[in-house]
Symmetry: C2
Subunit: 203 residues, 2 copies
Amino acid sequence: MRERERGPAREIETEHYEAQQGHQGCVVWLTGLSAAGKSTIATHVARRLFEEGSHVYVLDGDSLRQGLTRDLGFSPTAREENIRRAGEVAKLFRRAGFIVLAAFVSPYRKDRDFVRSILDDGHFIEGYVSADLDTCIGRDPKGLYKKALQGAIPEFTGVSAPYEPPLAPEIVLDTTAQSVDQSVHAVIDLLDARGIRKARARG
Amino acid sequence: MRERERGPAREIETEHYEAQQGHQGCVVWLTGLSAAGKSTIATHVARRLFEEGSHVYVLDGDSLRQGLTRDLGFSPTAREENIRRAGEVAKLFRRAGFIVLAAFVSPYRKDRDFVRSILDDGHFIEGYVSADLDTCIGRDPKGLYKKALQGAIPEFTGVSAPYEPPLAPEIVLDTTAQSVDQSVHAVIDLLDARGIRKARARG
């Protein structure tokens, strides 16, 4: 190819995307038990930021397991690979300047720490979506706890597989004590404090 | 969580992204031998569309193999999984309304057909970046053919592993006969013909 004709094109870097979009990218990683409220919070935050004109994307475990991670099960090793891939995808969207809301049970501390390690400082926000097990069992919107307690789903986090809460998350969202609105506001306030949200939308 | 307080948030669907961005998303999948010019064309097309204000992302084999597919080698099975993951990631970006330029050797027809199968009709554009092997060996910008011909790189496409050209690609970019500019224009003309590029940028 006669490359010299016009020289190589400049690759589109994160700062180019961010300049075009008017805000920085980051990854808000929501971890917690099934039914703790991760996806609900992610969807609400995303919708609000999207309506302000921000570039935002929700990644969640259920939808990823229908495609990218459909070959993986729920053993500790498979969960590690599941979170590794999810983290790498979050990194690609963050590279494109997106605010990524990632909702994954991600029960192992070391797997979440891996995701933190591949993202730059200050652009990984770990949110612990906290609800006690009894509350989650009481909600059980998909009937998964019922099945897990009957032994029909093996390796179910909180029932027959461990959950390791974050030791120093950037934010704790206690969905037993606070409403969806309160959790959504708390995330958005944190994005404001970090200077990540569109300047004209802050207030 | 007191979901009823405000009802569930609407998920952000592809049509919402496209409405915000002013253009449709799609995946332009560039396949061909190493050094055929896939990444060069992808980068030039992406830069041009980006400067028009479009949402565009380059995915290429080299960078993906530093992260998402770092666990994979170059056996037929590993290549299949490499392209499966790349296709699933392209689908996520297309879901966010992006024009994705995907540059992958992707030597097997069935693997490319898998990617086509997971994207909607009309939004997968297979581009065959065609250059004969001697031309690619002559270019060899990374010295890979030299190593492969010496036997230092096993399973190298075109040398010690097969390449199956597309039978009915949406576009053929013959980089032996035409310049980078001509290939870039050909891709952009096709996006125009499909109504994918920003309306105000066409012409």
